[in-house]
Symmetry: C2
Subunit: 319 residues, 2 copies
């Protein structure tokens, strides 16, 4: 099956986002011509490289909900990395149509654009949240049943289902990444980012949602992107599904304590209590990454190292 083709333009939706922008830099470094599609709701222009890359990088302000805009931007491309989505699980709980429109319908528009433009390869950033509350750890890719706990998770599973349908009905080659918690200096949401924001607003007190015992696997954006590229190059499709994560976990309590320490160690940590941080939170997460390791990839940093590195970066920025 067709795979990632660096000789033809590569589209990255959500390309100005926390993960997308790192992927874009890596693709440019490999000599690819890259088209970024982003609505800049959470993506940021200053995440993208300027100057020397101008000839190989084009940036399109596109709302993924509008099929014609997506179709125009995809035409002539050889591959699509589809990362655009609402990035925040909790926003979807407040506004239930958000993940349907930006997630599921957005993915449909990308796939339909690829089909019509005869783009042979589409890769998609799904999430470990498709596993819902699994009872098997580490959780393998063939785990079932898949019962998402959030509208965000529902849109990820719905999007995966659309990739499967397009692959088998129209002959597209597809790769699906199920991400652990991806962290790094470009992130604009997530628990570590939130802790720094909260301490900026009130340096004396850090509120932690839940009991702090939520324990998850954390992967650096650089590692995430290197795994994405390995899978996109070596997959055999029609539909390849890969967990992307690390083999260890770090608790939210440990992260809270480390962030407080990095900010001077004076803030009081207060837990709201309860097993879940919020409705739809997945309190325990650990992915089986044997499949992506089987392609020769390994994470450069484990969860603890990834957390420490990210806290150091954010602390330096907020100092």
């Amino acid at each position: 099956m067709a795979r990632l083709d660096l000789q033809r333009p590569v589209v990255v939706t959500g390309g100005a986002g926390a993960i997308g922008s790192v992927l874009v830099r890596e693709l440019l470094a490999k000599g690819a011509e890259v088209r970024v599609l982003d609505n800049f709701s959470s993506g940021r222009a200053d995440h993208l490289p300027g100057g020397g890359h101008a000839a190989h990088l084009s940036v399109h302000r596109v709302d993924i909900r509008h099929q014609p805009e997506v179709a125009r931007a995809v035409r002539g491309a050889g591959s699509v990395f589809h990362l655009a989505a609402n990035p925040d699980i909790r926003l979807g709980t407040e506004e239930p149509s958000l993940d349907l429109e930006h997630g599921t319908v957005g993915t449909f528009h990308v796939l339909e654009a690829a089909r019509r433009a005869e783009v042979p390869f589409v890769a998609f950033s799904s999430s470990s949240v498709v596993y819902g509350l699994p009872d098997t750890f580490p959780t393998p890719e063939d785990y079932g049943p898949l019962i998402p706990q959030s509208l965000y998770g529902a849109s990820k599973l719905a999007s995966e289902a659309l990739l499967g349908a397009y692959a088998h009905t129209y002959g597209l080659a597809t790769t699906i990444y199920r991400f652990a918690n991806i962290i790094g200096p470009t992130m604009t949401h997530g628990v570590i980012f939130d802790f720094f924001e909260k301490l900026r607003a009130d340096p004396a007190r850090l509120e932690v949602l839940g009991d702090g015992r939520q324990s998850k696997s954390w992967l650096r954006t650089e590692d995430c992107v290197s795994a994405m590229l390995v899978a996109a190059e070596k997959g055999r499709g029609p539909v390849d599904v890969y967990n992307l994560g690390t083999d260890d976990q770090v608790s939210v309590k440990e992260i809270a304590e480390k962030v407080v320490a990095a900010r001077g160690g004076t803030a009081r940590i207060e837990y709201t209590g309860g097993h879940q941080g919020w409705a739809g939170d997945i309190p325990v997460q650990l992915l089986d990454i044997a499949r992506i390791r089987g392609l020769g990839w390994a994470p450069r940093w484990n969860s603890r190292e990834a957390v420490d590195r990210t806290i150091t970066e954010l602390a330096a920025r907020s100092a």
Copy 2:
């Protein structure tokens, strides 16, 4: 958790359809007040009971794609059976937005209407096609991975995911039915129906898509509806998933030969060849029905009996 409540109005979307209309009759027989929502694209008014039931049955011509119409019809109900969808897998291949709009978005509208109207229980007609091409037979409900082969299948899995999200985020109780091939006298599509239609058009020749060795499990509409009601009454939710089928299979070849025999035995059967009948066809299907049997339900007719009975009925009608 809340379950089916026959003391308050019961909404049946797709209630004029092949399965919905049988469910509506059964609910009326149990004394429930029933509201049918249907766009009458494949549903038929003459499937619904008239006369004596008028006081307990209201019929609403509603397009599931229009949120306000759905919301109006759901208000004040105690339970929803959501069956409305594009019923034909192959139509979705020709028009890729069909299953997204009538399936996934339609389900979202039903769930959102239920949430806003505080309807505590929603049951949904999913399908065995969510299993894609499984390698385990009979296939249990916790089988993974779930990689649908068609846009119809993608919309079923997307809808299941939305039910999971609404159940866990907003406290709805939900039941998900994964149907085998449901057959009976009210059906307006599917292979048995199609064979009769083809022979009506050309009595000398019956074209069979694929090599005829596709082998599936067939469940009568009456059995399907009795299982739906048992699961809706006895489930413990938030999300109950039940396979509904039989323990045996009948091949498409056997069905073709039986239909030809029922029509006088003179037609020549021609196979188009290939493992699948069409892109997205699931050639082998057998569901593990231990879970629904565990609630005390059993099919009255096995697959062979269900096929024979249905052929006899359709032959009598076409004679």
